[in-house]
Symmetry: C2
């Protein structure tokens, strides 16, 4: 199980078919593989030894895909750097796993240059983008032009393939170690769990430094599909790509989907090629699903749930569960465990709980990470007897559907009762005036924490806190209803589209320590 | 990657869903897994140590599935015995890989009993069928009733899972060694390569001692599907199962499909549940495909090609290639390599040949066998640099489609020219009068071998040898046309539905040695 295997297949089976489309550039598989083998050779000449990490700071691009495969081709390990991080955070992630070579595209030259001062491990900076290299940086394109392609190092199986940093919402980032086998078998299974269109054309807009974006790239490459890459999510860029390249599948988070179909120019574009929308990070609410089915009537929808530590997908809610004749509550689930994943819900001692009981979601199978880089203690905390303990709260029903109720640490503990934010959020978003909401625990003299709702209203809509709370009382137990409501223009989102609840809490918790589950 | 993983998943996700249906018996997953864990315990108490082989002689049944999983659960290795073999051939396969425990159902008690005299390795005979055990055999059901279930031995990855005997058409059978990882990743990929119906119900009629039948069982189990098992192919049993259990997918060979849809009582049964027909061993001819699409209008067809040594599938011709608006010549191909398989065509020295050139089909990837049991020489002959050399002749076109032209050893060498039987057979089956045909080489004073056609006509049709040859001359080169034609009532088929050409050759070659490619 070698992640470079699809490249060898492509050379044999369809060398002249289009592999990558990025802006005005397009390359066929023969060109793509040639560039990968040359870039690998360049990395080797810059000192890369098998097993060494290679960092990349860049927007999504065809070059990003070349970086991934060239690192593997040379026998290295990818360390894709979060582009939202400050230079200091970047330095932390480079030093933590001793990354000596860092590639950067033109957008991140300054952040990369700053690493010379900040990072102790970094030895070599490489410009891999348009235009000439900034001073002090090697120029990948220039070197590739004069370097012969190298032979594939052919690492695979249990060999380390990636160190991906995660956990940015709380605490110090941790380097998740994934092997070739982890990523290979997981993308194979994800391709299967969400049945793909024939001869698909993929559209990749999810950030590639995140396992969601990288995963989609690998899934498409395994099927030797053309993939269209846009630098970052942008409604018009997505609409243009769908129309121009006849893309048939993509991955996005529900907030992106919402922005896309509500875009004022949506109807101007031909989006009829889109057959499959994979979505993750959150369930799709019924109002959005109905709207999406109206705007994209030919598309099937499939939810994927997982985390970096799980390569990443462990459950899928398949297209048929989105049909209007299926139980509505299932659409709020994350679906059923995929074939390679054993999933169970456990209590604080790691013991399985009965169906219907909320606990921690745990998973076991060939997609479980090798551990956190250089953090045996934190690895041992989450990896026990082969089970990865996700830190997500959830329950399973009698049909095997998994409901993610909340990040355990997002749970509100009020008056001794556990309140799962998602349950309250589901009640609030039933209100037609509400566009988005987040429920967090904030300090309260009487209750320890109180349930606090942060709400974004739809344009032109009006709603009072009292009306919102009164509605909740008709839906959920009194102690679960918000005791305070804050109306805001927007909720901060992570690059992966997850709500950054810690930012909402910050103002309330300044100077105090929050007790977490 | 443990083959028993689906059983643990099923206990968690859907213990009360139906797992197996066999005649009047049906068991849910909880019962199935309990029986597996008890039978495993029985095998252990009979002396099975991890890695030991366990044989089974039986028709397809729910018990056959229990045997497979119980052997793995106990840490053993399956050795499913070819039920068409003579007692002496059975003994050969048991002794070759030192199988000490043999299970047999009621149909094969005599063959099993004969092993006491014939086999030197066999120590323990177990009756695993209806009714009481014959004298001298342990009674599995009786022992299971008084044995506590054991814990799963949890073998996986590179651990040996199966020794399956192959090569029955020429030479001594060879024990193909497949690991848990081989079978796991291959069935995952086959599930993906032929997109399956939602919440499928499988119908298994292919012999389970063959990797085709075992593979379908594993594919269905990975998705926790209900599977309906019929003892052996029988048109009425298939029709009754389709109607009664609403089966949605199955695997058969084209000759079975033909017999099924041409059965006089076909129209009496409701076959509308059948959504996917996987087929293998041979391409489907257009006449049969049209007929099948007419009789089973809701079904998609997907061809799979492979061999035991490849766990078994390496190429798939997906449903969309069967559409009438797709090039007809592709329907005569075996499809494209599946995601886990690198496939190439090589010459006699193992060097890749250009597209369009006929050579030997070779494959590489995580599905390649570990080798032949105790036959390092024969293993080294076929496994070179990670490539399995299939012995099948074929070519690849510029779009990556693989055309299997013939078993290399079935090639006819006439006047120094190589003639691939399949090419001649394709020309002959274009004639509307022809139901089936096989082309073989027979000895010829002048040409060394001459092209000989064995032909079955459709009921009521008339055709002369001269007319058949005249038709061929309009289609293929003169030296490829048959020089002799034999009209017969039926062509002998293997249990897997492959034509047994060696039987057709026997009479002609009696007393001579045939020179093979």
């Amino acid at each position: 199980m070698e992640l470079t295997q699809p490249l060898h297949k492509a050379l044999q089976e369809r060398p002249r078919a289009t592999a990558l489309v990025c802006g005005a550039r397009r390359s066929d598989f023969a060109t793509f593989v040639d560039r990968v083998a040359r870039l690998a050779s360049v990395l080797q000449s810059l000192g890369l030894a098998p097993g060494d990490r290679v960092g990349m700071l860049g927007l999504n691009s065809d070059r990003y895909v070349e970086y991934l495969y060239a690192t593997w081709w040379a026998g290295g390990v990818i360390n894709p750097v979060n582009i939202r991080w400050s230079p200091r955070e970047v330095a932390y992630s480079l030093d933590d796993c001793d990354t000596r070579i860092l590639l950067a595209d033109g957008h991140f030259g300054a952040v990369a240059a700053a690493q010379r001062e900040l990072s102790t491990s970094l030895k070599t900076l490489v410009h891999f983008g348009d235009g000439p290299a900034p001073e002090g940086m090697h120029d990948a394109e220039a070197l590739m032009a004069h370097t012969a392609p190298m032979a594939d190092a052919r690492r695979g199986g249990a060999d380390l393939a990636a160190v991906m940093y995660t956990g940015g919402t709380t605490g110090l980032p941790k380097g998740v170690m994934l092997s070739h086998g982890n990523l290979y078998v997981s993308q194979l299974c994800t391709n299967m769990a969400a049945a793909r269109p024939d001869e698909s054309v993929g559209l990749n807009m999810a950030p590639m430094f995140h396992v969601g974006g990288t995963g989609l790239t690998l899934q498409l490459m395994m099927r030797l599909c053309k993939q269209v890459i846009i630098p970052a999510f942008d409604e018009l860029a997505v609409l243009q790509a769908l129309q121009a390249e006849r893309c048939s599948e993509t991955f996005m988070v529900p907030t992106m989907l919402k922005r896309l179909i509500e875009h004022p120019r949506f109807a101007e574009f031909d989006t009829s090629s889109l057959q499959l929308v994979l979505y993750g990070a959150a369930p799709i609410d019924d109002a959005l699903l109905l709207q999406a089915l109206d705007k994209l009537p030919q598309a099937r929808f499939c939810q994927l749930y997982g985390m970096t530590e799980l390569s990443p997908v462990i459950t899928a809610l398949p297209a048929w569960c989105h049909a209007s004749d299926q139980p509505a509550h299932r659409r709020r689930s994350a679906g059923r465990p995929v074939p390679i994943a054993q999933v169970r819900i456990v209590d604080a001692e790691g013991r399985p709980v009965p169906n219907g009981t909320v606990g921690e979601i745990a998973a076991r199978g060939p997609m479980v990470m090798q551990g956190y880089w250089n953090k045996p203690g934190q690895t041992a905390e989450v990896l026990r007897d082969g089970w990865m303990h996700t830190g997500d709260g959830g329950r399973m029903d009698d049909d095997g559907f998994v409901y993610v109720v909340d990040r355990l640490k997002d749970m509100v503990v009020t008056g001794g009762e556990n309140v799962y934010s998602a349950e309250v959020e589901n009640a609030i978003t039933q209100l037609p005036q509400v566009s988005m909401c987040a429920v967090v625990g904030v300090p309260d003299e009487r209750w320890g924490e109180r349930v606090h709702a942060v709400v974004v209203l739809r344009a032109g809509e009006v709603l009072t806190a009292d009306d919102l709370i009164a509605h909740c009382r008709t839906q959920i137990a009194g102690y679960k209803c918000p005791r305070s409501v804050e109306f805001v223009d927007a909720i901060p989102l992570s690059p992966a589209g997850k709500m950054l609840k810690y930012k909402l809490r910050e103002a309330h918790w300044a100077g105090r320590e929050r007790r977490v589950g």
